[in-house]
Symmetry: C2
Subunit: 138 residues, 2 copies
DNA sequence: ACTTGACCTGACACCAACTCACAGGTTGTA
DNA sequence: TACAACCTGTGAGTTGGTGTCAGGTCAAGT
């Protein structure tokens, strides 16, 4: 199948198929008559594996590693477990950071309810934002 | 002051000062004797404003807009309020998406506790990941 | 006076994971 | 045979930096 057909079958944007192919994650053979790329059933499965791993937060580099391991008949599973544990920790940190940001945003919105718009002058661009940064410094 | 001094004063990495200068967010004058960039007190305040806005999740493009508005003596505050409201919504979505991911990761880690490592074969790369994607398809 | 080391400059490459634009070749249908 | 719709490789743009390079400048120590 061509890239477009594979993309439709695997429910992945065509540009993504082309991108994965360009970086070597997919390696289609060629139609010698016209130079078109030909993807096999196994490429579709490979692509679906990539999608599944990406949904779990694996990076493409990690996925490539996993696929390479598998290609040499070495089990990638310990690596997979390790990455997931690491990702869980990273994700926890990211979530709490976003929550902190969300609180700052909501505090700002609330505090700004009673503030008037200021016209910028030499000392101030927008007192809304500056009032928050002063809070942070205290 | 030079870029390095400004960076230290404003507690921002030197590379960031250079980057902001390169993209035009900071516009230092020049020391004609040696071509060095000279930052004024107002540049320091501008940089601190940028930092404060970035802490609230503003993008550099938005900050540039705000600064441009202010430079024309138009109050940027309505824009600022709008962006913050939008960012609060986006952030909420991002947080819940990350939480969903976290759940998938934790479910995977738990489910995998009892699973053995599989050796890759023609049908499977890593049954751990494939078991999850099957769950999602059901 | 000279050397060393720390600083400065612009231009460029790199990161992730795409997304898109370009120019040209091929295929299928009317 | 005309034309739309597909295919190709390549290169650029995205975000917010981080870093490297070669070469110029400056201040301090010997």
């Amino acid at each position: 199948m061509t890239a477009a057909v594979l993309a439709k079958h695997a429910d992945v944007p065509l540009f993504t198929v082309r991108y994965y192919t360009r970086i070597g994650l997919l390696r289609p053979s060629r139609d010698l008559r016209n130079g078109y790329k030909i993807y096999k059933q196994s490429d579709k499965e490979r692509l679906q594996f990539i999608s599944a791993a990406k949904d779990l937060g694996f990076t493409l580099a990690e996925i490539e590693d996993i696929l390479d391991h598998a290609a040499h008949n070495k089990t990638p599973c310990p690596m997979v477990r390790e990455i997931v544990e690491k990702r869980i920790e990273e994700n926890k940190a990211k979530i709490s950071e976003l929550k902190r940001l969300q609180k700052r945003l909501e505090n700002a919105a609330t505090a700004w309810k009673t503030m008037k718009n200021s016209t910028p002058d030499g000392n101030s661009v927008c007192r809304l934002i500056e009032s928050i940064s002063q809070n942070r410094e205290r």
